[in-house]
């Protein structure tokens, strides 16, 4: 695996809470992330899969929640997450026009392992989120097929790569190269430690608005660029996946993931009209069996007063994850020769 430089390699440390050992979403035990990257002439796109645990997710669901910061997006699966508070498939990220094919792939993946679906039990709710990578990718050529879903899931590991990879391959963020980035925080409640991780697929923002750790560096970078393409409106989107092992109810989880908006705001996002800014979160603290002989279950959850630490953690991890997505992404030339520079070309001027 290539070793990307990340925010902390430039001494950019967001907030005050300690990061986990990898400073990635996979610091939450059991989670893995896989990519498939498709690059071929005008095609720059891919799929990223987040696996909440390594068992059969349909049979052992995780408690989940979603939150729409701005809904100009085509994410699939949130109606059922909101109603039932559970997630029962890996979460896929891809480009906007490939949500359908990813959904079909994810359905087939789940059918394969669960022969009772469509026979003795109901159906499955595939979770697929998206950003529009049309700047670097010929998105009209729907390049993602069902096999890429299998490939991304098969690739899932704890030490996954970040940057212009997987679903992040063709993304554009603050007029620079965006992609996949993540971060984590460790908090302690009554002597026990818990981890909150965030993974972002970044494809939003105007360069003028870019802010890192309070420094408004976007305008300066824009001025030093040869061909700034910053006249664009804020388009694109950001998808943020939040994972934790904190015992929380789905309502508490939703309160936590709403604070991704704070981290996102701190990078300079105005959650523009044309942006689909969506968060999906889950906790691995306990699972809910699809078929249960016990009809009355029991779950732990933290006292509401303890949520503040989790709010801080998720805001920090989101902000640092977004910055990592920029720093890990290398300068890329894509469709029709369009080029997006890496933030690393400019970061030394500021940090």
């Amino acid at each position: 695996m290539k070793q990307e430089k990340r925010a902390r390699d430039w001494n950019i440390t967001i907030g005050t809470l300690p990061a986990g050992p990898r400073n990635k979403i996979t610091d939450v035990k059991g989670i893995t992330v896989g990519h498939v990257t498709i690059k071929d002439k005008d095609i720059h796109t891919g799929v990223t899969a987040i696996l909440p645990h390594q068992g059969n997710l349909f049979k052992e669901k995780v408690v989940g929640a979603s939150h729409v910061l701005n809904g100009f997006g085509k994410t699939m699966g949130t109606v059922q997450i909101n109603e039932l508070g559970t997630i029962e498939t890996p979460i896929l990220l891809t480009n906007t026009l490939s949500v359908g094919n990813c959904a079909t792939g994810l359905i087939k993946y789940t059918l394969r392992d669960n022969p009772e679906i469509g026979r003795t039990t109901g159906t499955v709710n595939p979770i697929v989120a998206e950003c529009n990578d049309m700047y670097l990718n010929d998105i009209r050529h729907i390049s993602i097929n069902e096999n890429h879903v299998y490939e991304a899931i098969r690739d899932a590991k704890v030490d996954y790569a970040e940057g212009a990879i997987g679903a992040g391959t063709g993304m554009k963020c603050f007029g620079l190269k965006g992609g996949i980035g993540s971060s984590s925080r460790v908090i302690s409640i009554q002597g026990k430690t818990f981890t909150i991780g965030a993974l972002a697929l970044t494809n939003f923002g105007r360069l003028h608005d870019l802010m890192i750790n309070g420094k408004k560096i976007g305008e300066s970078i824009s001025n030093s660029m040869e061909n700034s393409n910053d006249m664009d409106k804020e388009r694109g989107s950001v998808i943020i996946i939040v994972a934790t092992d904190l015992p929380v109810t789905e309502r508490q989880l939703q309160r936590i993931i709403k604070r991704c908006g704070i981290g996102l705001s701190h990078t300079g996002s105005k959650m523009g009209h044309g942006s689909g800014d969506i968060v999906i979160g889950f906790t691995t603290a306990s699972t809910i069996a699809h078929d249960s002989t016990k009809k009355i279950l029991s779950h732990d959850f933290i006292h509401e007063e303890e949520l503040d630490l989790a709010f801080h953690a998720v805001a920090e991890a989101t902000e640092e994850g977004i910055i990592n997505s920029l720093l890990a992404s290398e300068t890329t030339t894509g469709r029709a020769g369009k080029k997006l520079e890496s933030l690393t070309e400019y970061i030394n001027d500021f940090f």
Copy 2:
């Protein structure tokens, strides 16, 4: 077109408001409905397409809204409807595991007519809703492909068929054969007449709960059946599409479509846990151009006090549309020899 018998052929008239000339959703001018039906041994499924108008929907969007009565469902596209209040594609109905393929088909259909998508403008939000037809259909064999989307849209007409056709081919409702049904109502405001139509894809309910125009006939039918399969929990779903030419804001439209729950309740639904009961509505009163040189637009809307008539109309049309879906559906034998009887086998005992 076969001539189904409908509720009024049994002198079942729901409510007090007058129906439109066809008593179908297509009484709202400009709307057409098309079906593709797939029947082959264990396959009993299909696609139904509702076209809000006959122009380019992406370029001339209609004001839309969605409402989740119960969210155990996989409908795609509602995040963006909720945020933007517009619908920009035909609305597709299909089986649960075919949402992905229908979405891809609908995306390609829209790309074909809009070469600027993914080049100079953003992307498209496909609307696909679903019910689970696994009782009569081998849903694991994902039989719907992208071409069926084109076929259903091409088939769209004002005088469409109802019953076990299109997306309704394999559906089961109150332990009987369900499918597609619709109805309409005409209301008058300050001397002008407006139409509200509802089209339902029915796949919900326990036979014991069936009620028609206040008569609780389900238990009696169940007792007279040879093999009642009514021990099932309430599974399945119902999708209701509401169309009107009434000038309303998207907030007013959402208030209107929430009243579909009243009509649904009157048929005996308890909106069971396992049911995805979702409403999508739109008004054709005016359209919103994707690209507009005018930056300040103007729309008519009715005074809030006038909404009550629309509430009554949509509740009545929903109730009668659901009953029509039952009466228009013929007895069907599907997957593995499973058989669902038509309500018409029993209706003469009661009406």
Copy 3:
């Protein structure tokens, strides 16, 4: 206590699930209901208090949820219920223009027992819901004061009265005398029994729409009335309080209370524009301590698949509770000589 005749005294039995011993919301153990009734010339109004348990609610909160069926209403306290999923005061019902005074009374009541509020801990979230009793009551004369709050709470008991009493004193429902009514259902999950109760404050509906157990009796009653006042739009409101001892999360509780809309629909309501139709529910299965030394708590909850029984129960209890409110209310003459007849004047013609 006067012994009102209720639905079952006319052999009107809603649904199939068994009622609890009292067939009231107080069949859920620990709950009491109190009234204060104010009648003086043009004044016909009051306060009804529902106590979720008999301890200090601020210190031991119950899990709660609210649901807006139609939001033309002034209910206070739902913002915090939605965020935190807890209820920490008695729930008060009163007339629309007295919400402020009831809130102040409820605040003072809570302050009295909790000297740490405003000193070492935060504040309290009073829950006050309302309907508009202007037909029989001179609502402009704000007759409710803080002392009435204490009085209603002090009156709380298990065997409370129903009908034109407390907050129900001046209410009008389906053009007849409305008021307070309730009902309960007992369900069994894995050998354990649980109770779900509903209490309704009824002030909604047009007489023509009235339906009891499927019989559309409103039009007939209207025709036999000397002076039907049924030309009115659907005004007023209905408030429904749901209580249970079923172990459920706040999300599950919200799913349950949404089904009050089914029972409400079955009485003939169209949830008119001008109606504030609001549900507040809670479970007594476990409480959450305001101050907890334990930072990680644990709650039981039923498996999601078991919710259907609760859905049926709450729909049935709501429907029967509304009918009880009509049958328990006697003919009343109020403000400016306006008179509302009791449904009991007509019920013998139908049941």
Copy 4:
């Protein structure tokens, strides 16, 4: 009127859009703001009234929307705003335990001018929002009465004061003295100029988190304080009132006011668990008559693509309004000798 120093007096300019002539919410034509301030020994509290226009608001309603950033709050009136999209009273701000009395005062104020309420038309929806000023104010002594409502409304003017005044009298923000602050932005769409103003009642945040225009100054201030009281959890609340003359639908308005969260985030808020962070907005672009002979109305609204400017404007005005609330508030000693310092004691070290 005392002349407070505001952010721009320290050369703190938030964002890039121009402010209106007063840089206050009253730059939106027709709006006035009034205060009543109550200071007496342990009492430090008050009421602030925002009048959307100078006519009879009940008869000529403004289009309104509300948004809950974090719902640990007791704001009254949002259920009906959400349902109907209109505001029909002045908006009152006060302390948490005085919402009831303010509601009653606001009801009586409206009754006085509208004799048909409770007679020939329905009731009124009072809007009252609150923060908890218990640090400096003896909130248990409910000091606000109905007359203060009249007084605050009567005081309403275009050139209102900011800081520790009105509802802001006893508030605490980032461990410093909070209060009332506002700001405005002017945007241009197709040659026409429009104004967006924000007024904040600030009572939130931990000093360590304070950030002004990207500078993280909170920790440094905390270190230089003699007695930092920053060990507190994030308590309190912030209420933000947004006004504009931009023609927008209620859905568009809600999209705009959601962006207050961005401005709030930039000051260092983490929207803590114990904080009631609530936004209420309205547009004066057109009004809706309570009684209208026209049953079909028409409103202008901007094309959705034009919203981005409004998003930027409201985020900037919110951020600057919050900073103004800190800078305009003078050091105050309140209940039990507790003292909160003004940010102005420290600001010269940073700007």
